[in-house]
Amino acid sequence: MIKSALLIGLVRGLRGIGHKSIKGIWRFGAGIRLFWLTLMSSGECFRRFHLIIREVYFTGVMSLIIILVSAFFVGMVLGLQGYHTLQKYGSSEAIGVLVALALVRELGPVVTALLFAGRAGTAITAEIGLMKATEQLSAMEMMAVSPIARVIAPRFWAGVIAMPILAILFSMVGILGGYLLAVPVIGVDAGAFWSQMQANVDWRHDILNGVIKSVVFGVACTMIALFEGYDAPPTAEGVSRATTRTVVTSSLAVLGLDFILTSFMLNV
Protein backbone atom coordinates (compact mmCIF):
# COMPACT_ATOMS: atom_id res chain seq x y z
CA MET A 1 0.00 0.00 0.00
CA ILE A 2 2.67 2.48 1.06
CA LYS A 3 4.91 1.35 -1.75
CA SER A 4 2.27 1.98 -4.35
CA ALA A 5 1.54 5.40 -2.85
CA LEU A 6 5.23 6.23 -3.09
CA LEU A 7 5.30 5.08 -6.68
CA ILE A 8 2.27 7.16 -7.54
CA GLY A 9 3.87 10.17 -5.87
CA LEU A 10 7.08 9.64 -7.79
CA VAL A 11 5.27 9.33 -11.10
CA ARG A 12 3.27 12.42 -10.33
CA GLY A 13 6.42 14.34 -9.48
CA LEU A 14 8.14 13.26 -12.67
CA ARG A 15 5.08 14.14 -14.65
CA GLY A 16 5.11 17.58 -13.05
CA ILE A 17 8.74 18.08 -14.04
CA GLY A 18 8.01 16.92 -17.56
CA HIS A 19 5.03 19.20 -17.86
CA LYS A 20 7.01 22.19 -16.58
CA SER A 21 9.93 21.54 -18.95
CA ILE A 22 7.70 21.14 -21.98
CA LYS A 23 5.85 24.29 -21.07
CA GLY A 24 9.11 26.14 -20.52
CA ILE A 25 10.51 25.09 -23.87
CA TRP A 26 7.25 25.93 -25.57
CA ARG A 27 7.20 29.37 -24.03
CA PHE A 28 10.82 29.95 -24.96
CA GLY A 29 10.02 29.05 -28.56
CA ALA A 30 6.97 31.29 -28.54
CA GLY A 31 9.11 34.10 -27.16
CA ILE A 32 11.68 33.66 -29.91
CA ARG A 33 8.89 33.66 -32.46
CA LEU A 34 7.51 36.92 -31.10
CA PHE A 35 11.05 38.35 -31.18
CA TRP A 36 11.34 37.35 -34.83
CA LEU A 37 7.95 38.82 -35.73
CA THR A 38 8.90 42.01 -33.90
CA LEU A 39 12.12 42.34 -35.87
CA MET A 40 10.22 41.63 -39.08
CA SER A 41 7.71 44.38 -38.46
CA SER A 42 10.25 46.92 -37.21
CA GLY A 43 10.60 48.66 -40.55
CA GLU A 44 7.22 50.29 -40.28
CA CYS A 45 7.78 51.47 -36.75
CA PHE A 46 11.08 53.13 -37.68
CA ARG A 47 9.27 55.05 -40.38
CA ARG A 48 6.96 56.36 -37.69
CA PHE A 49 9.62 57.20 -35.18
CA HIS A 50 7.36 59.24 -32.92
CA LEU A 51 5.83 55.96 -31.74
CA ILE A 52 9.25 54.90 -30.45
CA ILE A 53 9.94 58.32 -28.95
CA ARG A 54 6.70 58.12 -27.01
CA GLU A 55 7.70 54.76 -25.56
CA VAL A 56 11.24 55.96 -24.79
CA TYR A 57 9.53 58.56 -22.67
CA PHE A 58 7.55 55.94 -20.75
CA THR A 59 10.34 53.41 -20.33
CA GLY A 60 13.41 55.64 -20.22
CA VAL A 61 12.53 59.05 -18.87
CA MET A 62 10.10 57.65 -16.30
CA SER A 63 12.77 55.27 -14.98
CA LEU A 64 15.31 58.05 -14.69
CA ILE A 65 14.66 59.00 -11.08
CA ILE A 66 14.92 55.50 -9.64
CA ILE A 67 18.03 54.79 -11.72
CA LEU A 68 19.83 57.97 -10.74
CA VAL A 69 19.03 57.76 -7.05
CA SER A 70 20.07 54.11 -6.84
CA ALA A 71 23.22 54.85 -8.81
CA PHE A 72 24.18 57.59 -6.42
CA PHE A 73 23.80 55.35 -3.41
CA VAL A 74 25.50 52.39 -5.06
CA GLY A 75 28.44 54.63 -5.92
CA MET A 76 28.71 55.91 -2.36
CA VAL A 77 28.50 52.42 -0.90
CA LEU A 78 31.19 51.24 -3.29
CA GLY A 79 33.35 54.17 -2.25
CA LEU A 80 32.85 53.44 1.43
CA GLN A 81 33.44 49.70 1.17
CA GLY A 82 36.35 50.18 -1.20
CA TYR A 83 37.99 52.71 1.08
CA HIS A 84 37.49 50.48 4.11
CA THR A 85 39.34 47.63 2.42
CA LEU A 86 41.90 49.54 0.40
CA GLN A 87 43.18 51.65 3.27
CA LYS A 88 44.37 48.46 4.98
CA TYR A 89 46.82 48.10 2.11
CA GLY A 90 47.64 51.76 2.04
CA SER A 91 46.26 52.27 -1.41
CA SER A 92 43.14 54.24 -0.75
CA GLU A 93 43.71 56.41 -3.82
CA ALA A 94 42.89 53.33 -5.90
CA ILE A 95 39.32 53.85 -4.76
CA GLY A 96 38.50 55.66 -8.00
CA VAL A 97 39.59 52.69 -10.08
CA LEU A 98 37.60 50.34 -7.95
CA VAL A 99 34.41 52.36 -8.11
CA ALA A 100 34.74 53.09 -11.83
CA LEU A 101 35.57 49.56 -12.91
CA ALA A 102 32.89 47.98 -10.75
CA LEU A 103 30.28 50.37 -12.12
CA VAL A 104 31.27 50.51 -15.75
CA ARG A 105 31.87 46.82 -16.20
CA GLU A 106 29.28 45.18 -13.98
CA LEU A 107 27.02 47.17 -11.70
CA GLY A 108 26.03 49.81 -14.21
CA PRO A 109 24.57 47.44 -16.80
CA VAL A 110 23.36 44.77 -14.37
CA VAL A 111 21.72 46.88 -11.67
CA THR A 112 20.18 49.11 -14.31
CA ALA A 113 18.72 46.06 -16.04
CA LEU A 114 17.33 44.71 -12.76
CA LEU A 115 15.78 48.07 -11.88
CA PHE A 116 14.52 48.42 -15.44
CA ALA A 117 12.81 45.04 -15.20
CA GLY A 118 11.12 46.13 -12.00
CA ARG A 119 10.13 49.61 -13.13
CA ALA A 120 9.62 49.59 -16.89
CA GLY A 121 9.33 45.84 -17.52
CA THR A 122 6.39 45.33 -15.20
CA ALA A 123 4.69 48.41 -16.60
CA ILE A 124 5.07 47.06 -20.13
CA THR A 125 3.74 43.62 -19.17
CA ALA A 126 0.77 45.03 -17.31
CA GLU A 127 -0.03 47.45 -20.11
CA ILE A 128 0.12 44.84 -22.87
CA GLY A 129 -1.72 42.30 -20.72
CA LEU A 130 -4.51 44.76 -20.03
CA MET A 131 -4.69 45.78 -23.67
CA LYS A 132 -5.16 42.11 -24.45
CA ALA A 133 -7.69 41.53 -21.67
CA THR A 134 -9.79 44.50 -22.77
CA GLU A 135 -9.64 43.32 -26.39
CA GLN A 136 -7.69 46.38 -27.51
CA LEU A 137 -5.24 44.17 -29.38
CA SER A 138 -8.12 42.28 -31.01
CA ALA A 139 -9.74 45.56 -31.95
CA MET A 140 -6.50 46.65 -33.58
CA GLU A 141 -6.34 43.41 -35.53
CA MET A 142 -9.88 43.94 -36.71
CA MET A 143 -8.91 47.40 -37.89
CA ALA A 144 -6.31 45.72 -40.08
CA VAL A 145 -3.50 47.09 -37.92
CA SER A 146 -0.91 44.60 -36.72
CA PRO A 147 -0.55 44.89 -32.93
CA ILE A 148 3.01 43.62 -33.24
CA ALA A 149 3.98 46.45 -35.54
CA ARG A 150 1.93 49.09 -33.72
CA VAL A 151 2.26 48.08 -30.06
CA ILE A 152 5.06 45.56 -29.57
CA ALA A 153 7.78 46.81 -31.92
CA PRO A 154 7.86 50.46 -30.74
CA ARG A 155 8.10 49.34 -27.11
CA PHE A 156 10.83 46.88 -27.99
CA TRP A 157 13.01 49.45 -29.72
CA ALA A 158 12.32 52.01 -27.02
CA GLY A 159 13.63 49.55 -24.44
CA VAL A 160 16.69 48.75 -26.53
CA ILE A 161 17.43 52.48 -26.88
CA ALA A 162 16.65 53.44 -23.29
CA MET A 163 18.59 50.70 -21.51
CA PRO A 164 22.15 51.65 -22.56
CA ILE A 165 21.42 55.32 -21.89
CA LEU A 166 20.16 54.47 -18.42
CA ALA A 167 23.18 52.23 -17.80
CA ILE A 168 25.62 54.95 -18.87
CA LEU A 169 23.88 57.47 -16.65
CA PHE A 170 23.94 54.94 -13.82
CA SER A 171 27.70 54.50 -14.16
CA MET A 172 28.33 58.21 -14.42
CA VAL A 173 26.19 59.13 -11.42
CA GLY A 174 27.60 56.20 -9.46
CA ILE A 175 31.14 57.43 -10.09
CA LEU A 176 30.06 60.90 -9.00
CA GLY A 177 28.65 59.36 -5.82
CA GLY A 178 31.94 57.56 -5.23
CA TYR A 179 33.82 60.78 -5.88
CA LEU A 180 31.69 62.79 -3.48
CA LEU A 181 32.30 60.20 -0.79
CA ALA A 182 36.00 59.64 -1.44
CA VAL A 183 37.25 63.15 -2.05
CA PRO A 184 35.35 65.65 0.14
CA VAL A 185 34.25 63.21 2.86
CA ILE A 186 37.19 60.84 3.26
CA GLY A 187 39.83 63.14 1.88
CA VAL A 188 41.38 61.11 -0.92
CA ASP A 189 43.33 63.34 -3.26
CA ALA A 190 41.12 64.36 -6.17
CA GLY A 191 44.00 64.21 -8.65
CA ALA A 192 44.93 60.68 -7.62
CA PHE A 193 41.28 59.65 -7.73
CA TRP A 194 40.82 60.70 -11.36
CA SER A 195 44.29 59.89 -12.69
CA GLN A 196 44.32 56.35 -11.32
CA MET A 197 40.88 55.87 -12.78
CA GLN A 198 41.94 57.14 -16.18
CA ALA A 199 45.04 54.98 -16.21
CA ASN A 200 43.11 51.81 -15.53
CA VAL A 201 39.73 52.18 -17.20
CA ASP A 202 39.94 51.30 -20.85
CA TRP A 203 37.60 52.96 -23.30
CA ARG A 204 36.99 49.91 -25.45
CA HIS A 205 37.43 47.00 -23.10
CA ASP A 206 35.67 48.46 -20.11
CA ILE A 207 33.29 51.22 -21.14
CA LEU A 208 32.25 49.95 -24.55
CA ASN A 209 31.87 46.39 -23.32
CA GLY A 210 29.62 47.69 -20.57
CA VAL A 211 27.49 49.45 -23.14
CA ILE A 212 27.30 46.30 -25.26
CA LYS A 213 26.15 44.39 -22.20
CA SER A 214 23.40 46.87 -21.50
CA VAL A 215 22.18 46.70 -25.10
CA VAL A 216 21.89 42.91 -24.79
CA PHE A 217 20.11 43.31 -21.45
CA GLY A 218 17.80 45.84 -23.07
CA VAL A 219 16.83 43.34 -25.75
CA ALA A 220 16.31 40.57 -23.20
CA CYS A 221 14.39 42.55 -20.57
CA THR A 222 12.11 44.33 -23.02
CA MET A 223 11.37 41.20 -25.00
CA ILE A 224 10.59 39.20 -21.86
CA ALA A 225 8.27 41.94 -20.60
CA LEU A 226 6.52 42.17 -23.97
CA PHE A 227 6.18 38.43 -24.34
CA GLU A 228 4.79 37.95 -20.84
CA GLY A 229 2.20 40.64 -21.51
CA TYR A 230 1.33 39.32 -24.94
CA ASP A 231 1.09 35.77 -23.63
CA ALA A 232 -0.80 36.60 -20.42
CA PRO A 233 -4.22 35.03 -19.90
CA PRO A 234 -6.74 37.85 -20.38
CA THR A 235 -7.80 38.01 -16.75
CA ALA A 236 -6.79 40.14 -13.80
CA GLU A 237 -5.08 37.17 -12.20
CA GLY A 238 -3.32 36.24 -15.43
CA VAL A 239 -1.93 39.75 -15.86
CA SER A 240 -0.72 39.97 -12.26
CA ARG A 241 1.03 36.62 -12.57
CA ALA A 242 2.60 37.64 -15.84
CA THR A 243 3.92 40.80 -14.17
CA THR A 244 5.57 38.75 -11.46
CA ARG A 245 7.04 36.40 -14.02
CA THR A 246 8.48 39.35 -15.92
CA VAL A 247 10.57 40.36 -12.91
CA VAL A 248 11.69 36.82 -12.12
CA THR A 249 12.52 35.84 -15.69
CA SER A 250 14.19 39.14 -16.54
CA SER A 251 16.38 39.04 -13.44
CA LEU A 252 17.49 35.49 -14.10
CA ALA A 253 18.06 36.23 -17.77
CA VAL A 254 20.12 39.33 -16.96
CA LEU A 255 22.35 37.53 -14.47
CA GLY A 256 22.79 34.49 -16.73
CA LEU A 257 23.52 36.61 -19.78
CA ASP A 258 25.91 38.71 -17.73
CA PHE A 259 27.95 35.63 -16.90
CA ILE A 260 28.04 34.51 -20.52
CA LEU A 261 28.92 37.97 -21.84
CA THR A 262 31.56 38.56 -19.18
CA SER A 263 33.28 35.28 -19.89
CA PHE A 264 33.37 36.10 -23.60
CA MET A 265 34.61 39.63 -22.99
CA LEU A 266 37.39 38.60 -20.61
CA ASN A 267 38.62 35.98 -23.04
CA VAL A 268 38.80 38.22 -26.04
Binding site: T134, E135, Q136, S138, E141, M142, M143, A144, V145, R150
Partner: protein, 267 residues
Amino acid sequence: MTSNIVEIDNLSFGYKGRMLHQGINMAFARGKVVAIMGGSGSGKTTLLRLIGGQIKPSKGEVRVDGQVVHKQDRQGIYKLRRKMGMLFQHGALFTDLSVFENVAFPMREHTDLPESMIRDLVLLKLNAVGLRGAYKLMPAELSGGMARRVAIARAIALDPNIIMYDEPFAGLDPISMGVVCDLIRTLNDALGATSIIVTHDVEETFRFADYIYFVANGVVAAEGTPEQLRNSDLPFVHQFVFGEKDGPVPFHYAAGDYASEMLGYEA
Protein backbone atom coordinates in the same frame (compact mmCIF):
# COMPACT_ATOMS: atom_id res chain seq x y z
CA MET B 1 -21.83 40.30 -57.31
CA THR B 2 -24.34 38.58 -55.13
CA SER B 3 -26.84 40.50 -53.08
CA ASN B 4 -25.34 38.99 -49.91
CA ILE B 5 -22.24 40.70 -48.63
CA VAL B 6 -21.40 37.94 -46.13
CA GLU B 7 -22.20 34.29 -46.61
CA ILE B 8 -21.50 31.50 -44.16
CA ASP B 9 -21.50 28.10 -45.75
CA ASN B 10 -21.69 24.83 -43.81
CA LEU B 11 -19.33 26.25 -41.20
CA SER B 12 -17.91 24.12 -38.40
CA PHE B 13 -15.56 25.27 -35.72
CA GLY B 14 -14.37 23.94 -32.43
CA TYR B 15 -11.54 23.76 -29.97
CA LYS B 16 -9.93 20.49 -28.98
CA GLY B 17 -12.68 18.10 -29.94
CA ARG B 18 -15.53 20.20 -28.54
CA MET B 19 -17.37 21.47 -31.59
CA LEU B 20 -18.92 24.90 -31.13
CA HIS B 21 -20.48 25.13 -34.56
CA GLN B 22 -21.64 22.17 -36.59
CA GLY B 23 -22.61 23.21 -40.07
CA ILE B 24 -23.94 26.75 -39.88
CA ASN B 25 -25.44 28.44 -42.94
CA MET B 26 -26.19 32.12 -42.93
CA ALA B 27 -26.49 34.91 -45.45
CA PHE B 28 -26.33 38.62 -44.74
CA ALA B 29 -27.99 40.79 -47.32
CA ARG B 30 -26.56 44.19 -48.21
CA GLY B 31 -28.06 47.12 -46.39
CA LYS B 32 -29.80 45.05 -43.74
CA VAL B 33 -29.48 44.86 -39.98
CA VAL B 34 -29.11 41.20 -39.15
CA ALA B 35 -29.02 39.87 -35.61
CA ILE B 36 -27.48 36.65 -34.40
CA MET B 37 -29.08 35.52 -31.19
CA GLY B 38 -28.49 32.66 -28.87
CA GLY B 39 -27.74 31.77 -25.31
CA SER B 40 -24.47 32.56 -23.58
CA GLY B 41 -21.69 30.32 -24.78
CA SER B 42 -23.38 29.37 -28.01
CA GLY B 43 -20.46 30.73 -30.05
CA LYS B 44 -22.01 33.94 -31.32
CA THR B 45 -18.93 36.05 -30.76
CA THR B 46 -16.81 33.35 -32.34
CA LEU B 47 -18.89 33.75 -35.49
CA LEU B 48 -17.85 37.40 -35.69
CA ARG B 49 -14.22 36.43 -35.28
CA LEU B 50 -14.63 33.89 -38.08
CA ILE B 51 -16.08 36.56 -40.33
CA GLY B 52 -13.20 38.88 -39.43
CA GLY B 53 -10.69 36.13 -40.16
CA GLN B 54 -9.18 36.16 -36.67
CA ILE B 55 -9.67 32.40 -36.46
CA LYS B 56 -9.95 29.73 -39.10
CA PRO B 57 -12.94 27.40 -39.45
CA SER B 58 -12.44 23.65 -39.05
CA LYS B 59 -14.77 23.00 -41.96
CA GLY B 60 -16.82 25.06 -44.40
CA GLU B 61 -16.14 28.65 -45.29
CA VAL B 62 -17.04 32.28 -44.77
CA ARG B 63 -17.23 34.51 -47.82
CA VAL B 64 -17.02 38.26 -47.56
CA ASP B 65 -17.78 40.10 -50.77
CA GLY B 66 -17.41 36.79 -52.59
CA GLN B 67 -13.93 36.08 -51.19
CA VAL B 68 -13.25 33.12 -48.93
CA VAL B 69 -11.87 34.60 -45.73
CA HIS B 70 -9.68 31.79 -44.45
CA LYS B 71 -7.97 31.30 -47.81
CA GLN B 72 -6.64 34.86 -47.82
CA ASP B 73 -3.07 35.57 -46.84
CA ARG B 74 -2.34 38.23 -44.22
CA GLN B 75 -2.46 41.04 -46.76
CA GLY B 76 -5.74 39.77 -48.15
CA ILE B 77 -7.35 39.51 -44.75
CA TYR B 78 -6.20 43.00 -43.85
CA LYS B 79 -7.70 44.23 -47.10
CA LEU B 80 -11.01 42.58 -46.26
CA ARG B 81 -10.95 43.95 -42.74
CA ARG B 82 -10.73 47.49 -44.03
CA LYS B 83 -14.28 46.98 -45.28
CA MET B 84 -15.35 46.01 -41.78
CA GLY B 85 -15.88 47.92 -38.60
CA MET B 86 -16.27 46.12 -35.34
CA LEU B 87 -17.62 47.15 -31.99
CA PHE B 88 -16.22 44.99 -29.22
CA GLN B 89 -18.19 43.94 -26.21
CA HIS B 90 -16.74 46.55 -23.87
CA GLY B 91 -15.77 49.02 -26.52
CA ALA B 92 -12.08 48.12 -26.45
CA LEU B 93 -11.10 51.77 -26.69
CA PHE B 94 -7.35 52.38 -26.57
CA THR B 95 -6.93 53.51 -23.00
CA ASP B 96 -3.77 55.50 -23.67
CA LEU B 97 -5.37 57.61 -26.39
CA SER B 98 -7.99 60.35 -26.07
CA VAL B 99 -11.46 60.01 -27.57
CA PHE B 100 -10.32 62.06 -30.55
CA GLU B 101 -7.21 59.94 -31.12
CA ASN B 102 -9.22 56.74 -30.76
CA VAL B 103 -11.52 57.72 -33.59
CA ALA B 104 -8.62 59.10 -35.61
CA PHE B 105 -6.63 55.88 -35.13
CA PRO B 106 -7.94 53.93 -38.17
CA MET B 107 -7.62 57.03 -40.35
CA ARG B 108 -4.04 57.67 -39.30
CA GLU B 109 -3.13 54.02 -39.85
CA HIS B 110 -4.75 53.55 -43.23
CA THR B 111 -4.87 56.93 -44.90
CA ASP B 112 -2.47 59.77 -45.58
CA LEU B 113 -5.07 62.44 -45.00
CA PRO B 114 -3.83 65.83 -43.82
CA GLU B 115 -4.33 66.64 -40.16
CA SER B 116 -7.06 69.21 -40.85
CA MET B 117 -9.13 66.69 -42.77
CA ILE B 118 -8.68 64.03 -40.10
CA ARG B 119 -9.90 66.54 -37.57
CA ASP B 120 -13.00 67.30 -39.61
CA LEU B 121 -13.75 63.62 -40.19
CA VAL B 122 -13.28 62.68 -36.54
CA LEU B 123 -15.58 65.47 -35.38
CA LEU B 124 -18.09 64.37 -38.01
CA LYS B 125 -18.07 60.81 -36.73
CA LEU B 126 -18.23 61.93 -33.11
CA ASN B 127 -21.12 64.21 -33.99
CA ALA B 128 -22.95 61.25 -35.49
CA VAL B 129 -22.84 59.50 -32.13
CA GLY B 130 -23.55 62.72 -30.26
CA LEU B 131 -20.18 63.03 -28.52
CA ARG B 132 -18.45 65.79 -30.43
CA GLY B 133 -18.17 67.74 -27.19
CA ALA B 134 -16.26 64.92 -25.50
CA TYR B 135 -13.40 64.66 -27.95
CA LYS B 136 -10.78 65.76 -25.43
CA LEU B 137 -11.71 63.21 -22.76
CA MET B 138 -9.78 60.03 -22.04
CA PRO B 139 -11.63 56.68 -22.18
CA ALA B 140 -11.35 56.34 -18.40
CA GLU B 141 -13.49 59.49 -18.02
CA LEU B 142 -16.39 58.11 -20.05
CA SER B 143 -19.46 56.25 -18.84
CA GLY B 144 -20.15 52.80 -20.25
CA GLY B 145 -22.73 54.09 -22.71
CA MET B 146 -20.50 56.91 -23.90
CA ALA B 147 -17.56 54.55 -24.33
CA ARG B 148 -19.76 52.31 -26.44
CA ARG B 149 -20.74 55.24 -28.63
CA VAL B 150 -17.15 56.36 -29.07
CA ALA B 151 -16.29 52.80 -30.05
CA ILE B 152 -19.09 52.92 -32.63
CA ALA B 153 -17.66 56.16 -33.98
CA ARG B 154 -14.29 54.45 -34.28
CA ALA B 155 -15.83 51.42 -35.97
CA ILE B 156 -17.40 53.60 -38.67
CA ALA B 157 -14.34 55.82 -39.04
CA LEU B 158 -13.47 54.46 -42.45
CA ASP B 159 -17.07 54.11 -43.66
CA PRO B 160 -17.10 50.31 -43.66
CA ASN B 161 -19.45 48.13 -45.71
CA ILE B 162 -19.95 45.76 -42.82
CA ILE B 163 -20.37 46.82 -39.21
CA MET B 164 -20.21 44.10 -36.61
CA TYR B 165 -21.50 44.63 -33.10
CA ASP B 166 -20.56 42.25 -30.32
CA GLU B 167 -23.13 42.51 -27.53
CA PRO B 168 -23.74 46.23 -28.07
CA PHE B 169 -26.29 46.42 -25.25
CA ALA B 170 -24.50 44.47 -22.56
CA GLY B 171 -24.37 46.35 -19.29
CA LEU B 172 -26.11 49.50 -20.49
CA ASP B 173 -28.92 51.35 -18.76
CA PRO B 174 -32.23 51.59 -20.67
CA ILE B 175 -31.56 55.11 -21.93
CA SER B 176 -28.11 54.30 -23.30
CA MET B 177 -29.55 51.13 -24.74
CA GLY B 178 -32.17 53.05 -26.64
CA VAL B 179 -29.54 55.49 -27.89
CA VAL B 180 -27.24 52.73 -29.12
CA CYS B 181 -30.19 50.95 -30.66
CA ASP B 182 -31.20 53.98 -32.68
CA LEU B 183 -27.60 54.62 -33.64
CA ILE B 184 -27.18 51.17 -35.10
CA ARG B 185 -30.25 51.63 -37.25
CA THR B 186 -29.52 55.18 -38.41
CA LEU B 187 -25.85 54.55 -39.09
CA ASN B 188 -26.70 51.46 -41.06
CA ASP B 189 -29.10 53.37 -43.27
CA ALA B 190 -26.91 56.46 -43.56
CA LEU B 191 -23.80 54.52 -44.55
CA GLY B 192 -25.64 51.97 -46.66
CA ALA B 193 -23.76 49.32 -44.75
CA THR B 194 -24.71 45.92 -43.47
CA SER B 195 -24.88 45.48 -39.73
CA ILE B 196 -24.32 42.19 -37.98
CA ILE B 197 -25.34 42.23 -34.35
CA VAL B 198 -24.55 39.55 -31.87
CA THR B 199 -26.80 39.83 -28.86
CA HIS B 200 -29.13 38.07 -26.50
CA ASP B 201 -31.26 41.07 -25.81
CA VAL B 202 -34.59 40.02 -27.28
CA GLU B 203 -36.78 43.06 -26.91
CA GLU B 204 -34.42 45.64 -28.43
CA THR B 205 -33.34 43.35 -31.22
CA PHE B 206 -36.85 42.47 -32.28
CA ARG B 207 -37.63 46.15 -32.51
CA PHE B 208 -35.07 47.14 -35.09
CA ALA B 209 -33.52 44.08 -36.77
CA ASP B 210 -34.46 43.15 -40.31
CA TYR B 211 -33.62 39.51 -39.97
CA ILE B 212 -32.71 37.29 -37.05
CA TYR B 213 -30.79 34.04 -36.72
CA PHE B 214 -31.09 31.87 -33.64
CA VAL B 215 -28.03 29.79 -32.87
CA ALA B 216 -28.28 26.86 -30.52
CA ASN B 217 -26.26 23.67 -30.11
CA GLY B 218 -23.95 24.65 -32.93
CA VAL B 219 -26.57 25.03 -35.62
CA VAL B 220 -29.04 27.65 -36.77
CA ALA B 221 -32.10 26.70 -34.78
CA ALA B 222 -34.41 29.23 -36.33
CA GLU B 223 -34.35 32.21 -38.65
CA GLY B 224 -36.69 34.79 -40.00
CA THR B 225 -37.93 38.32 -39.64
CA PRO B 226 -38.93 39.46 -36.14
CA GLU B 227 -42.54 39.06 -37.13
CA GLN B 228 -42.09 35.45 -38.25
CA LEU B 229 -40.14 34.54 -35.13
CA ARG B 230 -42.59 36.06 -32.71
CA ASN B 231 -45.25 33.84 -34.17
CA SER B 232 -42.98 30.83 -34.34
CA ASP B 233 -44.15 27.73 -32.58
CA LEU B 234 -40.68 26.24 -32.29
CA PRO B 235 -40.28 25.45 -28.58
CA PHE B 236 -36.71 26.81 -28.45
CA VAL B 237 -37.62 30.15 -29.97
CA HIS B 238 -40.61 30.41 -27.72
CA GLN B 239 -38.48 29.78 -24.67
CA PHE B 240 -35.90 32.35 -25.74
CA VAL B 241 -38.26 35.07 -26.85
CA PHE B 242 -40.35 34.89 -23.73
CA GLY B 243 -37.48 34.17 -21.41
CA GLU B 244 -38.81 30.98 -19.87
CA LYS B 245 -36.56 29.29 -17.39
CA ASP B 246 -36.96 25.73 -18.53
CA GLY B 247 -37.68 24.28 -21.91
CA PRO B 248 -35.57 22.77 -24.67
CA VAL B 249 -32.62 24.59 -23.10
CA PRO B 250 -32.54 22.92 -19.69
CA PHE B 251 -32.00 24.81 -16.46
CA HIS B 252 -29.69 22.10 -15.17
CA TYR B 253 -26.32 21.32 -16.58
CA ALA B 254 -26.22 17.63 -17.48
CA ALA B 255 -25.78 15.78 -14.16
CA GLY B 256 -26.43 12.48 -12.46
CA ASP B 257 -29.53 11.70 -10.51
CA TYR B 258 -29.98 14.38 -7.84
CA ALA B 259 -31.40 12.16 -5.13
CA SER B 260 -28.75 9.51 -5.42
CA GLU B 261 -25.92 12.09 -5.40
CA MET B 262 -27.27 13.80 -2.31
CA LEU B 263 -27.56 10.51 -0.52
CA GLY B 264 -23.90 9.91 -1.12
CA TYR B 265 -24.03 7.05 -3.54
CA GLU B 266 -21.20 7.03 -6.03
CA ALA B 267 -22.61 7.88 -9.42
